[in-house]
């Protein structure tokens, strides 16, 4: 490739003959990518039309940026963007430090069997589906039969409708993220921690440093770069929020706080059938998120570079 071979007809024919099986293997793969991924990217163009499913492109009017305009100037714009950013921001503040703390503490466990047990248990929630997770929350937090409210009542408090009250939505959401992802997200930190030279700890111990100081002066600096990289990634995804969990946790009582970009797109497109409008919203959020992610990547490359030298 680097040698800049001349692509003569003879060369091409020979290359094709030699690699015919390679091309044959790639044929279904390329077909899949073209149909599912690139054809769907082509469909993004309906965001510039007033597309009607029954009329097709020929019968649909080109409207330029009107669909974007309608979304940006619409009543829900500030609310939807704000909800998306706030949920991500609270997750960043309250969830992001959890895997770090968990990994640091787990790293200090002496009994390897117990360590393995705690680790195995902590991964488990990661494999539960969004539906299972929200269902568990729903039955456990139910105001009438839920265990948590039964507990509150036995202590003399009033029961709280956690899943229905808009005030509680963000708290419950972030708590569920912490419950589900802390153990799994800690893996990266745990593996980095295991690479730290054990001699450093012994030397620190000789100098009379206690456990907490060892963590502060050896473990934490050891995973500093991993933390910074993951933090940048996280900020890069500020505008992204999966569809499933907010959608499943949404109900008529909490839409004011639970309507985020992905659920709003679904509602406009699939529920209301305004495909063009919904595609415009989707395209808008992908473009904004692309800028965020590329910016984050640029930053993390800088960090990686500076750490190399």
């Amino acid at each position: 490739m680097a040698k800049n071979k001349k692509w003569t007809k003879e060369y091409l024919v020979n290359n094709f003959k030699q690699n015919k099986f390679m091309y044959l293997m790639l044929l279904p793969v390329v077909a899949y990518y073209l149909i599912i991924h690139y054809w769907s990217m082509g469909w993004l163009s309906i965001s510039f039309f007033d597309y009607k499913l029954l009329k097709g492109f020929a019968g649909s009017k080109f409207v330029g940026l009107a669909n974007f305009d309608k979304f940006v100037k619409g009543l829900n714009f500030g609310n939807v963007i704000g909800n998306t950013l706030l949920l991500n921001f609270y997750s960043l503040v309250f969830y992001f430090p959890m895997p770090i703390i968990f990994a640091l503490l787990l790293n200090e466990l002496k009994n390897l069997k117990f360590k393995k047990f705690v680790q195995t248990v902590s991964y488990m929630p990661h494999f539960l589906s969004a539906v299972v997770l929200v269902s568990i929350m729903n039955v456990m937090l139910s105001p009438s039969t839920g265990f948590l409210n039964g507990f509150l009542k036995s202590l003399g408090f009033d029961s709280i409708y956690f899943m229905g009250d808009a005030k509680w939505f963000r708290t419950v959401y972030v708590a569920s993220v912490i419950w589900q992802e802390t153990g799994w997200a800690a893996i990266t930190y745990i593996s980095t921690l295991s690479g730290i030279d054990q001699g450093l700890y012994e030397a620190a111990k000789m100098d009379g440093a206690g456990k907490l100081r060892q963590i502060w002066h050896i473990s934490l600096p050891g995973i500093r770069e991993t933390i910074i990289l993951l933090l940048i990634m996280r900020v890069g995804n500020m505008i992204n929020l999966t569809f499933e969990k907010p959608y499943l946790m949404q109900n008529a009582l909490n839409t004011s706080v639970s309507e985020v970009l992905s659920t709003y797109t679904y509602k406009i497109g699939i529920v209301n059938g305004s495909y063009s409008q919904a595609t415009a919203i989707g395209l808008f959020s992908s473009l904004v998120s692309l800028v965020f992610v590329l910016g984050a990547n640029f930053l993390s490359n800088k960090v990686a570079e500076t750490s190399l030298f």
Partner: protein, 300 residues
């Protein structure tokens, strides 16, 4: 050498200071607390599903069943609609596993060993999808145009080849000594034979990892089914669980009726049945999963 031994002996003699003892004790307590926080909600769900009405209605069941009663499972297992959705999910998961693994191999092999014209373009074509995709509505439009709305094939087709899996498998393939492949080629084997007889047997660990990702991914999938399926006969377990526990449309399954006893237990039993397959394979999974995360981390 002897220096190190001396130091180690010294270390082991005065191994734990009081401060360390306190730290270790508190740490173990914290870890037990964390494990309980993870396990107790799951225990609560299982306990409620097998407790009797009196205690469930009064929200008195915590982490141990009260007044054992397995009728909820009888109701769940006898429901034809639930059984059908269970079979749908198994069907999608198994076919997806087979199709996706084959396709990922077909993508990874040429990209690992091929020196053909257009390799870079095809690599780029695949990798770009990690960064940019059409998104929800455009994907729906494609499935609609293909006539696959309300067809279980759509659930297998849309996530058929994941770029990330191709990257992982390709990097695993390139770690196989190329002399093996060259000698097979000299023996006259074509690329398909080499893939099946030489490469795949050596890549079992990587294929197991990716396979497990696919299984859990398909089993847990919610967005694609809710986008593409309209007919309840095609529903997968996740949608049925959503309907029974979260939505008000539980009545159509005629197993949860607020006027009937057992409603709450049946809800919990459905949760257990939906998460059980993943939790059963979980101990086997986690070794491979962790390995896979490392693979990804190394490649960046």
């Amino acid at each position: 050498m002897s220096e190190i031994v001396k130091v180690k002996k010294l270390m082991s003699r005065n191994r734990e200071t009081t401060g360390e003892k306190i730290f270790n004790f508190v740490n173990v307590v914290i870890m037990i607390f964390i494990s309980l926080i993870v396990l107790l909600p799951l225990l609560n769900v299982v306990s409620v599903s097998i407790s009797s009405d009196k205690y469930v209605a009064a929200a008195q069941v915590s982490f141990w069943p009260k007044g054992l009663n397995f009728d909820s499972y009888k109701t769940v297992l006898e429901s034809e609609k639930l059984l059908r959705s269970f079979l749908n999910t198994v069907l999608v998961t198994v076919s997806s596993l087979v199709c996706s693994l084959i396709m990922t191999c077909l993508a990874a092999y040429p990209l690992a060993y091929g020196k053909f014209v257009g390799r870079r373009v095809i690599t780029l074509l695949i990798l770009l999808t990690m960064w940019f995709s059409g998104g929800m509505i455009p994907t729906y439009m494609v499935i609609n145009k293909l006539g696959l709305v309300d067809n279980l094939i759509s659930l297998i087709l849309v996530p058929l080849v994941t770029a990330y899996h191709v990257v992982i498998l390709r990097s695993f393939f390139t770690s196989i000594p190329s002399s093996l492949i060259e000698s097979a080629r000299i023996d006259g084997a074509n690329d398909f034979t080499i893939l099946v007889q030489v490469v795949i047997p050596l890549a079992k660990a990587a294929l197991a990892t990716i396979g497990l990702w696919i299984i859990v991914g398909r089993w847990n999938e919610f967005m694609n089914p809710i986008l593409f399926l309209k007919d309840y006969k095609k529903y997968t377990m996740q949608i049925v669980l959503r309907d029974i526990v979260l939505a008000s449309s539980a009545a159509q399954y005629d197993i949860v009726d607020e006027s009937k006893a057992l409603a709450e237990q049946v809800r919990n039993a459905t949760i257990v049945v939906t998460m059980l397959p993943v939790l059963i394979v979980y101990p086997f999974l986690q070794k491979y999963f962790v390995k896979g995360v490392m693979l990804g981390a190394v490649k960046g």
